[in-house]
């Protein structure tokens, strides 16, 4: 396998709403920052891939307009996925494996504020039997949380502990949207939002963007002192019908973790794309993480959850901590679809 690394990562500060900018205007600072960090322009990039969905802002073909932000002229090699940017990164990684290019730009963005996000996300459900019920994303997550509590594998206090720890860690993340220091008891004292979930168990709705530059081998080494090498990456999907799945486990994450080689060494940090508190517990088990792994030091998706972007940000957060020497080996996870339907796992590592 060809050595490919994350060599730069940039994100815009997560905000509930960015009404004064359109999507490309919101996205451009992230792209410009990611390229500038490694002294590159689009002319140095072999392949560009993006992740977003037009449903969020209700703007048809918005991913075509946002491509203007990279300067795609003369024509560039480019692709888009209607998924989280982590999957765009996967496509770019495959392209780099083919060996014809040495660099790739990956970006993702979400302007969820113009619409009603939980309702918009119903459109990703099976359109014949589930979509017409307008089962919103928070209610479906609550179904999953209920199943987990009923299984006896977690308590409401366990969920509250994830919520409290994530928001406290987010105090140190300048890009976080939701950060505070409250006790588990304070969280448990909240009323249910959609039982058994409290508001603190749910992610904020976020407008934001992120970009990553990938490079292979010596190009990566020439650009940064300590590239965050992608040692393994894999993604798996589960059936669209929730009734066919055991919602208390994440089989697809377990398979992806096996293929990506998570168990092949100590995991210093893990950034898990768990928009709801109970999902972090399911994912940590599926990944086989132990107590010696720092989970979501950025605050995770509970602190900022730009749709189609938060997964790519997880990869960026791990890469940053590897490049700056905070960690030697880390796991990044991204999810897509209702109740952790589809999952991507990447193992990143620094060289000493």
């Amino acid at each position: 396998m060809r050595d490919v690394a994350v060599i730069s990562f940039a994100q815009t500060p997560a905000r509930r709403s960015v009404p004064e900018l359109n999507e490309v205007e919101m996205l451009m600072p992230a792209i410009h920052d990611a390229l500038a960090q490694v002294d590159m322009t689009i002319d140095d990039i072999g392949f560009t891939c993006s992740g977003s969905t037009d449903y969020l802002a209700g703007t048809a073909f918005s991913f075509v307009s946002t491509l203007d932000g990279v300067g795609p002229w003369p024509p560039i090699q480019e692709s888009h996925v209607e998924m989280d940017g982590a999957w765009a990164l996967y496509e770019a990684w495959v392209k780099l494996q083919l060996g014809e290019i040495d660099t790739a730009l990956v970006y993702a963005y979400a302007k969820s504020s113009p619409g009603d996000l939980p309702m918009v996300l119903t459109r990703q459900l099976d359109p014949i039997t589930v979509g017409p019920l307008w089962a919103d994303s928070v209610s479906l997550a609550a179904l999953q949380a209920r199943a987990l509590l009923d299984s006896g594998k977690a308590t409401e206090a366990d969920l509250a502990a994830v919520a409290a720890r994530s928001r406290k860690d987010a105090l140190a993340n300048p890009n976080a949207q939701l950060a505070w220091d409250r006790s588990v008891d304070e969280v448990l004292a909240e009323e249910y939002h959609i039982a058994p979930l409290r508001r603190s168990d749910c992610p904020p709705i976020t407008d934001g963007a992120a970009a990553i530059v990938l490079a292979a081998g010596d190009v990566a080494r020439s650009k940064v002192q300590r590239p965050a090498w992608i040692r393994g990456i894999d993604h798996r999907v589960e059936p669209i019908h929730l009734g066919l799945r055991d919602l208390t486990v994440s089989e697809s994450t377990t398979i992806a973790a096996g293929k990506a080689g998570v168990a092949g060494g100590k995991v210093d940090i893990a950034e898990l794309h768990a928009p709801f508190s109970h999902q972090e517990l399911i994912l940590a088990e599926a990944l086989g993480l132990g107590d010696d792994t720092a989970v979501n030091p950025s605050g995770g998706a509970l602190a900022a959850n730009a749709i189609m972007t938060a997964g790519l940000i997880r990869i960026g957060e791990v890469a940053t901590r590897i490049s700056n020497g905070e960690a030697d080996r880390g796991v990044a996870h991204a999810t897509s679809g209702p109740c952790l339907q589809q999952n991507l796992v990447a193992v990143l590592e620094g060289e000493n």
Partner: protein, 209 residues
């Protein structure tokens, strides 16, 4: 086809051949910085293009990014309210939401001073007389009805000037009369100038120079 076994209660019931699942999502749209500035100009009956640098393309309407430079377009340049039809189509079908009487003409119009054409209506001329190269001018609504929308321009009408026989497509510096083909050569990478590096696209190889 796989065998499907139905419970007794459903046997003999007519098969479902289709379902209708209507969906509606409501959005509160904001125009963003570039389009907001453009539409504020429209309320002054001015058509104000934008560019990233003093030498780069002038975009009308501006969409927030110069696709050649991948940059914002902070510089504002008022362009003419007169331009050239670069392409058009005659609409002969009535469709939902259209208040137009058919047939009517929808056209791409390259305003003088702009590098991107706007789409608008051509009126005050029979649809079958509209042509590429025709010179047209904006016709505004009454002052009391001007709003921050391109519909504040009711339509474009012929100026009566001679046609621009050397009509250029948007973005090209000189006309070809043949759309994007320069000297009979398709715009391959060889003739495309890179606006960031200045490389490629010399006059000698058929590009813009």
């Amino acid at each position: 086809m796989p065998e499907i076994s139905l419970p007794a209660s459903l046997q003999g019931v007519e098969a479902v051949r289709s379902v209708r699942t209507p969906a509606q999502l409501d959005y509160t749209f904001t125009a963003g910085d570039a389009t907001t500035r453009f539409l504020k100009g429209i309320t002054q009956k001015k058509i104000i293009g934008q560019q990233a640098t003093p030498d780069s393309r002038v975009y009308v309407p501006p969409r927030g990014a110069d696709p050649e430079l991948g940059a914002t377009t902070p510089i504002e340049v008022e362009v003419a309210q007169v331009g050239t039809v670069t392409s058009f189509c005659v609409v002969n079908l009535q469709f939902y939401g259209s208040g137009m009487e058919i047939p009517y003409t929808s056209a791409l119009i390259l305003l003088d001073g702009a590098d991107l054409s706007i789409m608008h209506l051509i009126q005050e001329i029979p649809a079958d007389q509209v042509r590429i190269g025709m010179r047209v001018e904006a016709v505004w609504r009454d002052d009391a009805d001007i709003e921050p929308t391109l519909e504040s321009i009711k339509w474009f009408r012929p100026t009566g000037e001679p046609d621009d026989v050397n009509v250029r497509i948007p973005g090209e510096k000189r006309g070809t009369g043949l759309g994007s083909w320069v000297g009979g050569v398709a715009p391959t990478e060889l003739v495309v100038r890179n606006p960031r590096t200045g490389l490629g696209g010399t006059v000698a190889d058929g590009g813009e120079g």
